[in-house]
């Protein structure tokens, strides 16, 4: 008997066109289902329908029927479904309620009325299942994104749900943290629906694949058949080599060109903290894409900010010519204006014509009059890039620009970066992503003083 039945469901958020359906599917116990599709395609809405958050929390127009573990979501509220369904959302910071890890995991159990003497053993077991038992007494505010997301997974698992919904849970994580998270999911043995942009790993985990586009279910098939379908119809989604460093797509060094940025002997330490950079060297020439990589906390963001002129180094020389633009991590969070058009026009003195052209170039022309916060997370990421790129800075500095981007959009970004550089500007990208094209890759690594230095990687030309 199916654990969940979605029958002819259609949904539209308040004041918006239909974002899901009509769509029908059934979920069987023990399945691991990969839910794929472009950003804004309705994946999150489908997951929210399964948890009852659509329509109860969001309002809007809902038609059809969703029944999970015998509960009809038209009458059962999300809190009623909480014992049967658990959700892990995209951003771990936005779902943590308590200050201490073990209390965070216990929160859901207390809400469900779990017998008091069973709460701590279940907390311990859930933390153990995701390899986070050592974090038990830590403050949630002091955890890294990866650690926090594993705590969120433990919080969901502690409820012993029949259905676990994971809504792009690794979009805010670096590859290593994402791998650990998905490894933990693999060990669960529960029914899981995993919406994920890291397609390769999701396909390895899944027994069945759903592909959603424009709110409609285009594919519902076992993984092997789904790979063939994706290969034929959506080739970028089929590649399981997406996350593998099978070779850097290095474009070969450009001829020595006019330098646009030269950093030498850069030293930097945050107030009250230890040294972050010690003698880092970095240069970017016109027409060149330089990728900056390195482990978490290695100082990539710091060096990128120094390159863009947002931070001054403690020591060392910075030589920069022309205008620099900087795109921060998670740019969708930092929107300033009331419409997407105004957001992009901000950097060009309100020139709406130029802003509209840039929105069109990033596939967001349709969203010009929409509020940026009404866009999906992937669309907001692209809006952030458009808002920086519109001024056509001589040096474009991007900090982890591929987080949360689907494979199609990532490929488009890569192509766009190549065009941008080919037009004679320089690009510096701080990224874990080995797929983005680059002429040179610089790795930040610990030097003898334990501070971090830049090292140029050998590349095949």
């Amino acid at each position: 008997m199916a654990l969940a039945v979605v029958h002819e469901v259609e949904f539209a958020y308040p004041g918006s066109p239909r974002s899901l359906g009509p769509l029908s599917l059934e979920l069987e116990p023990g399945e691991v289902v990969a839910l794929l599709g472009p950003s804004g395609s309705g994946k999150s809405t489908l997951l929210r329908s399964l948890s009852g958050l659509v329509p109860h929390f969001h309002g809007g127009r809902f038609a059809g029927r969703v029944v999970v573990a015998g509960l009809d979501t038209r009458t059962a509220r999300p809190a009623d479904l909480a014992g049967s369904v658990a959700t892990v959302f995209q951003d771990p910071e936005d779902q943590v309620v308590m200050a201490i890890v073990e209390n965070e995991v216990a929160f859901g159990l207390e809400n469900l009325g779990t017998r008091a003497d069973r709460i701590w053993p279940r907390v311990e077991r859930a933390l153990g299942e995701v390899g986070a038992l050592h974090l038990r007494g830590r403050k949630t505010a002091e955890l890294s994104g990866g650690e926090l997301q594993r705590v969120c997974l433990a919080s969901a698992l502690a409820l012993e749900p029949q259905l676990l919904l994971l809504d792009e849970p690794t979009s805010q994580l670096d590859p290593e943290a994402a791998r650990l998270f998905l490894d933990a999911v693999e060990r669960l043995g529960a029914t899981v629906v995993l919406s994920e942009q890291r397609v390769g790993r999701a396909l390895e985990l899944a027994t069945r694949v759903l592909y959603v586009e424009d709110g409609r279910l285009l594919l519902d098939a076992p993984t092997a058949a789904a790979r063939d379908w994706l290969e034929e119809r959506r080739p970028r989604w089929a590649s399981t080599t997406l996350e593998r460093a099978s070779g850097h797509p290095t474009r070969g060094s450009t001829r020595a060109s006019e330098p646009i940025l030269a950093l030498s002997g850069i030293e930097f330490g945050y107030r009250g903290g230890s040294s972050v950079l010690n003698g880092a060297e970095l240069s970017v020439g016109r027409g060149e894409i330089v990728a900056l990589s390195g482990p978490n906390g290695s100082g990539k963001t710091t060096l990128a900010k120094i390159a863009a002129g947002l931070l001054d180094p403690d020591a060392g020389a910075v030589e920069r010519t022309g205008l620099a633009g900087y795109l921060s991590q998670d740019p969708g969070r930092y929107v300033v204006c009331e419409t997407a058009l105004a957001e992009v026009a901000l950097a060009v003195g309100g020139d709406e014509q130029r802003a509209q052209a840039t929105l069109d170039r990033f596939g967001l022309g349709w969203a010009a009059r929409r509020h940026p916060r009404d866009l999906s997370s992937g669309e907001r990421e692209r809006l952030g890039i458009a808002a920086v790129a519109v001024a056509e800075p001589d040096l474009l500095v991007l900090d982890e620009p591929t987080r949360g981007l689907d494979p199609d959009r990532k490929a488009e970004l890569g192509r766009w970066l190549e065009q941008y550089a080919a037009a004679g500007d320089g690009v510096l990208v701080a990224t874990h992503d080995q797929e983005l094209p680059a002429h040179r890759r610089i790795e930040l690594r610990a030097g003898s003083t334990q501070a971090l230095q830049a090292r140029e990687l050998p590349v095949a030309v």
Partner: protein
């Protein structure tokens, strides 16, 4: 052997009592001592976290000290400075009485803000929520609102960097004020996401239970009982 820290319920009661005592006390020296004690308590928090709280507490007190002599007038005391006479407002001057009253009120407000800072920085809010008994929802709302302060600080820095990264220079208070609206919108968005996550985790469902937690010791109960006495003492003698 080090002593176990106070449970947050007793510590919160003590901090509330100290803040109330500062409001009730009439002697500037008494309020100053309370403020210094609370400042010392706040300094136990990690340096990177306490900065924004201490800045807020001290600047609020300083603001009252500098502005209130001009906004409140007292005929008593010696005139230290005499300015223009404005219609409706009357003569603009600063007297010793106004200055000492401004210092008292500034210190009171500083002490109160420091008591809140100590609550936000040093207390285990989870245990406070657990100890809240029938008022658990209110305690949770206060704890979540308190956690918003560092989030706001992080978001403000992120917004400023995002805008500067587009080549826009933020200048003066007016420039930074433009970030206020997106900052509030961002906080509301965070709050909505959190509310959604809480509902998905069964918050608000009837029949909630509590995970067992260590019982209060005799010393903890004594501290809780002492809190009203601190307030009474301040009302009578400080």
């Amino acid at each position: 052997m080090s002593r176990r820290p106070l449970p947050p319920g007793a510590a919160a009661a003590l901090l509330a009592a100290a803040g109330t005592a500062a409001l009730l006390a009439d002697r500037i020296v008494s309020v100053a001592v309370l403020a210094v004690v609370l400042l010392a308590v706040c300094l136990r928090a990690p340096a990177e976290r306490r900065g924004v709280y201490l800045f807020g507490a001290l600047s609020t007190g300083l603001g009252v000290l500098l502005l209130s002599p001009f906004l409140w007038s007292s005929p008593d005391g010696t005139v230290l400075w005499e300015g223009w006479t404005f219609p409706v407002l009357g003569p603009l001057d600063v007297t010793t009485t106004e200055l000492s009253e401004a210092a008292l009120n500034g210190l009171r407000l500083t002490a109160l803000a420091l008591a809140f800072s100590a609550y936000a920085l040093l207390l285990d809010h989870d245990r406070l929520v657990a100890a809240a008994g029938f008022a658990r929802r209110s305690a949770l709302a206060v704890a979540l609102a308190t956690r918003l302060v560092p989030s706001l600080e992080r978001d403000a820095a992120g917004l400023a960097a995002a805008v500067r990264g587009r080549g826009i220079r933020l200048q003066g208070a007016r420039g930074y004020a433009t970030l206020l609206s997106p900052l509030v919108a961002g906080s509301l968005e965070r709050a909505t996401s959190l509310a959604e996550a809480m509902e998905a985790r069964g918050y608000g469902r009837p029949g909630a239970t509590r995970a067992p937690r260590p019982a209060w010791s005799r010393r903890d109960r004594a501290v809780l009982a002492a809190a009203p006495l601190v307030v009474l003492g301040a009302a009578l003698w400080l």
